[in-house]
């Protein structure tokens, strides 16, 4: 969850624009997030395949929360799980 502006503490997931397994380019729209002030689109930070979607429509997440994982198509499920664990631990 990015930080948009100085006031933002959290965002609500409005809509996913990509599906699991979809190949995305850097900058492609992935999902729409609503805050108390704006509705904005989160773009893919890198090219790859959308491997995991960790949040659903309506969920409220704080700034910095992990929303999804992009990587190479052949990444295994345990590798993705470990990556997610690492990300969450680092926060």
């Amino acid at each position: 969850m990015p930080k948009w502006g100085i006031e933002m503490q959290d965002g609500t997931i409005a809509e996913w624009h990509a599906r699991i397994g979809q190949r995305v380019a850097k900058g492609d729209p992935l999902l729409e997030v609503e805050t108390s002030k704006v509705v904005n689109v989160i773009e893919a930070p890198a090219a790859g395949v959308l491997l995991r979607m960790l949040v659903v429509k309506g969920e409220v997440l704080p700034v910095g929360a992990l929303l999804g994982v992009i990587g190479e198509a052949q990444t295994t499920a345990p590798e993705i799980d470990r990556f997610i664990e690492d990300c969450r631990a680092r926060r």
Binding site: I6, E7, Q9, S36, K37, V38
Partner: protein, 338 residues
Amino acid sequence: MPLKTYREAITTALREAMRADARVCILGEDVSGGAGCATGRQDAVGGAFGVTKGLLTEFGPLRVIDMPISETAFVGAAIGASLTGLRPVVDLMFADFAGVCFDQIFNQAAKIRYMSGGKAAAPIVIRMAMGGGLTAGAQHSQTLYPQLTGIPGLKCVVPSNAYDAKGLMASAIADEDPVIFLEHKALYSTQCQVPDEPYRIPFGKASVVRPGTDVSLVTLGAMVQVAEAAATSLALRGISCEIIDLRTTSPLDETTILQSVRHTGRLVVIDEAPPRCSIASEIAALVAERAFASLRAPLVKVTAPHSPVPFAPQLEKLYVPDANRVSAAVEHLMNEGG
């Protein structure tokens, strides 16, 4: 009763006033946003803090008017319009921008009634986002109420919560005098129960947020929450704090302040502005003049230091008073005073 944010409460008050009175109009930069843009998405923004979102759609471009970056011209025009039949609510975006158009505020709006021998009135509301705590830097974090309160002819409103914001805005728009409405930017997303029906909160009537017996914490704006947090922790140590939320600095509710201090015998003013010629100094002087006999201990001011607002987050945390500082000040007072 529904919950509303401070932001929504003000939007609601504006909408109700505009529905009730066709003379009420909104002027400012990006009050709808997207003006002239090829998207045709007017009302894309609704003000830098989203407070006026949706109003263009309902009331149209003659009542919600996006302005060029010309504060002197549009604040002045709003004042002129208020003299001649409109009831403008100006969005100055940040209190710090008042510097750009200060002549119109303090030499024109404030003095027209007086200089005209009571024959003219400027029923204008100027909304500004103020206050620190969001690392917005020195030129986007000031409060301005110290300076504005000292100018005869202006009224100055500082709501601390959504319920008050709605009622005070309704009063501001109905008021025949120029009103500066200072919205604390750190409070926009705070919520509380706010009635759907219109209501007004009068100016010059402070709110006793928490009754107490040992010390009067007099405060305003975002510092009310700070006082509440301090009072909660002090209560665990057997110290009973009374909290007075000023709501308006001009007019100032002297009666409630004095009544409180006569009752508790101790005063701590909590003010996030710097200490010289401030609301804190004003209240300390008031109490010293009129409730001296009731005082059991010296007057205490918990304020920001005499410096601009620093940018770095840790420095800003040291700058803006917090609950720990307030608690420490109260404990010190209780121990040394009597």
